[in-house]
């Protein structure tokens, strides 16, 4: 993984407050947990029916009945609980999930998120993504700022089918931390070595720049 990606993930981890219940989506978000301090008070949820996820395990140490929603073999921490899928999503939809961190294909300046379908190319179904995006109290996106071809993923409007409308609160990228505000995208922090001009150039929508000094992560 590039340094920029690592710093993005470490920065995202700092947004997890003590006592939160958090769902970390498949891919980059899952790795956020590796950047939490030891003994940090947090409850990790996975939608296949577990609160209190512990470290992932190698096949030799794995329990065949104990996976996360991405299929990774995980463990439990003292105080974990197993439950059925209805209870699991009850937790998500009723406001008990304080934060979810998700990947994205596109994020629009009004907070619309597209991360589940590329018509004609990729349509495996949304899994639990729609409910996580629509109902977590706070939705953060972790994504590279641009796609592999260099096209911006932060846009005025999403072009792909939505996962949920107006759901994203904050975006962590390899270039910046950006909030979704009523006025659109607002730059909050810059990655080391990245300039405001770089971020503007890589963003497909207007970007509000704070008047004060911009923190570096």
């Amino acid at each position: 993984m590039s340094d920029a990606k690592s710093r993005m993930i470490a920065r995202a981890a700092r947004d997890i407050a003590p006592g939160m219940t958090v769902n970390l989506g498949i891919g980059l978000p899952t790795q956020v947990v590796n950047h939490l301090p030891a003994n940090f008070p947090v409850c990790l949820h996975t939608e296949n029916g577990l609160t209190g996820i512990g470290p992932t395990l190698p096949p030799d140490a794995a329990d065949r009945n104990l996976i996360d929603a991405g299929g990774a073999y995980v463990s439990t921490v003292p105080g974990s609980a197993f439950f059925d899928s209805a209870t699991s999503f009850a937790l998500v939809r009723s406001g008990r999930l304080d934060l979810t961190m998700l990947g994205a294909f596109e994020v629009a300046e009004n907070g619309d998120l597209a991360n589940w379908k590329i018509p004609g190319k990729f349509s495996p179904g949304a899994g639990g993504g729609m409910e996580l995006a629509q109902k977590a109290r706070r939705v953060a996106v972790l994504t590279t700022h641009t796609d592999r071809a260099g096209n911006p993923k932060l846009l005025t409007r999403c072009t792909l089918p939505l996962t949920a409308a107006a759901c994203v609160d904050r975006i962590f990228t390899d270039m910046a931390v950006i909030d979704v505000t009523p006025a659109g995208f607002a730059l909050r922090e810059l990655a080391q070595g990245v300039t405001v001009a770089d971020v503007r150039h890589a963003t497909g929508a207007p970007l509000h720049i704070p008047g004060d000094a911009i923190p570096i992560f």
């Binding site: 197993f82 009850a90 008990r96």
Partner: protein, 230 residues
């Protein structure tokens, strides 16, 4: 990573409940009723409460203390048959009472707890319980919407809790408690026993800790919890 500690004192937990609150109370008859927290509501003189509970207990017990102390404005329930005092207050207009079919009360609370807006049902459709409820056509038949119920606070009695709020209920004391635990903004649990996280095996949890906000130890129960000799 470790799971947060949610233990507190009953006085503190109950003090945060404002007058006018909507409060769900676990329990079906005696089992599961949080008698000590109900006593604390009375002691702290909460007013103008809306109470959601299967029943109003019996005269001189549990919910009846709230009624006698004039704490209750409104009661959403299924059956008051064992509390003549509650029926009298209802008939006098001193409290408002909304009756639900028992399984519909359970589903309405569960729907609130599951982040749903309501459920579609035909229970009571040909009775006065169905009057005034929104009707829709579904699968070629007419059905009704039962709207979701949520509360500001749920007060629950557990046999055992860990400090993170994972709960175990005993026998028929479970009843509405796991549903109410999902359906309130603040969930306060009185537990006969509090254990460290991990002492309740993850496969044996009745209510997962993330639904619970505060856990209070009640080492000594009142006589109200005992077998009732009628």
């Amino acid at each position: 990573m470790r799971l947060p500690d949610k233990t507190t004192t009953m006085e503190q937990a109950i003090a945060a409940i404002p007058d006018g609150a909507t409060i769900m109370l676990g329990g079906f008859g005696v089992p599961g009723t949080p008698f000590l927290m109900i006593q604390e509501l009375v002691r702290q003189n909460k007013r103008d409460l809306t109470i959601i509970k299967n029943d109003a207990n019996e005269t001189g017990m549990g919910v009846d203390h709230l009624l006698v102390a004039g704490c209750v404005r409104r009661l959403i329930t299924t059956h008051l048959g064992l509390n003549a005092n509650a029926i009298r207050l209802m008939n006098e207009g001193a409290i408002e009472v909304e009756f639900c079919a028992q399984g519909m009360l359970a589903e309405r609370i569960r729907a609130g707890g599951a982040g749903l807006k309501g459920v579609v049902t035909d229970i009571g459709i040909d009775t006065e319980m169905g009057a005034g409820k929104q009707r829709i056509e579904i699968g070629g038949e007419v059905a009704m919407i039962e709207t979701a119920l949520r509360a500001g606070v749920a007060l629950l009695h557990a046999a055992r809790a860990d400090t993170f709020g994972n709960l175990r209920f005993a026998a028929t004391a479970r009843n509405f408690s796991p549903l109410m635990a999902m359906a309130a903004d603040t969930v306060i649990v009185e537990a006969e026993e509090i254990v460290p996280p991990g002492d309740i095996a993850p496969d044996d949890v009745h209510t997962p800790g993330p639904f619970v906000d505060h856990v209070v130890h009640v080492p000594q129960l009142s006589g109200e919890y005992a077998v009732v000799r009628r």
